[in-house]
């Protein structure tokens, strides 16, 4: 009877400390490497270029304007500014949002992240809307060069 009791006690005192240490290490690691802007990047396929000159700059203040494709017809399904989705025709609204952001964050850079299959006629009004907000420079989002070690193309 006494022996049984003893065995039970030993089972409960499993030492989790080192496991906890490792788990915390991993959590902190992933906390630091995670991009919290991922919600601003809906799933789309940016242009894949020949000998891409695209560069990566970390830690800049950016507003991503996404043009989400409608299957592969070349039409835009929606335009997403930051976290906000607007219908493809509402360019005045886009101008308002961009100029508002530009006033709040003067150093903000505008990234234009359009799907590779979008027709230029659907990208051009978006560019005009950004210009109308008083922005002269934008960044075009494209894949890095295939030889770039940082490139790990999504499947």
């Amino acid at each position: 009877m006494a022996k049984k009791h003893e065995v039970e006690k030993q089972e409960v005192s499993l030492n989790l400390t080192s496991m906890m240490d490792i788990v915390f290490q991993l959590i902190i690691f992933f906390l630091l490497v995670t991009n919290f802007t991922s919600a601003e990047l809906p799933e789309l396929e940016p242009p894949d270029l020949e000998h891409s000159e695209a560069i990566e700059i970390d830690g800049r203040d950016k507003l991503v304007i996404n043009i989400i494709p409608d299957s592969s017809t070349g039409m835009a399904k929606a335009v997403q500014v930051g976290m906000q989705k607007i219908p493809p025709g509402a360019y005045n609204q886009l101008t308002d949002i961009v100029s508002q952001v530009k006033t709040d964050r003067p150093d903000v850079e505008i990234d234009l992240r359009a799907d590779a299959s979008i027709n230029y006629e659907n990208v051009q009004p978006v560019m005009n809307a950004i210009t109308a907000a008083g922005v002269a420079r934008i960044n075009l989002v494209a894949y890095l060069d295939a030889s770039n070690p940082k490139r790990e193309k999504r499947e």
Binding site: L41, P47, L49, G74, I130, A136, R137, N139, Y143, E152
Partner: protein, 181 residues
Amino acid sequence: MAEKSKTVRAKGDADHLHDVGKTDTIHHESTRKAARPKKMADLNLTSMLDVCFQLLIFFILTASFAVGEGILPAELPTGQGKASDTEAPEQPIKLFLRSLGGDDVSIQIEGSPTPPRDFRELFSVLQGMQNSPSNPTAPYNADDPVIIKPDGTVKWVHVVNTFNAAIRAKYTNVNFATPNK
């Protein structure tokens, strides 16, 4: 006897074995003393570990979402912004893009009789047109404007590819035009 051996194990020192054998009171006291540190070690970490694993899985899944994407700094097409302030350039290089249906595109350089077949060729033609120490007879300078004029139905990937070819050929003033309808 069973109780005695339990005490010995809990405490684990030979001195105590003697005391236990003498009186019952000491025996009981020593049991309690031995039990106390054991209870302290019994902190239940299970639920904390659950939460930690949840967080870990969340961060693993959300990490590295847009790996491999980069940016190409560009000027915007005609507007009231700074981009249009350049005074009338003498000789812009105009690149026309026409959709040939589907994913195909034709590239044409204004004034050039042979259109480049792909963007690699466009790059070498643009590079050959640029004045440099190794190529002093070329008609264009690196800061001469390059204007990209795509048709409305040209895919965005071709527009960016053209832009990329121009900046790869070290042109510094690459612009977009409005689509010709």
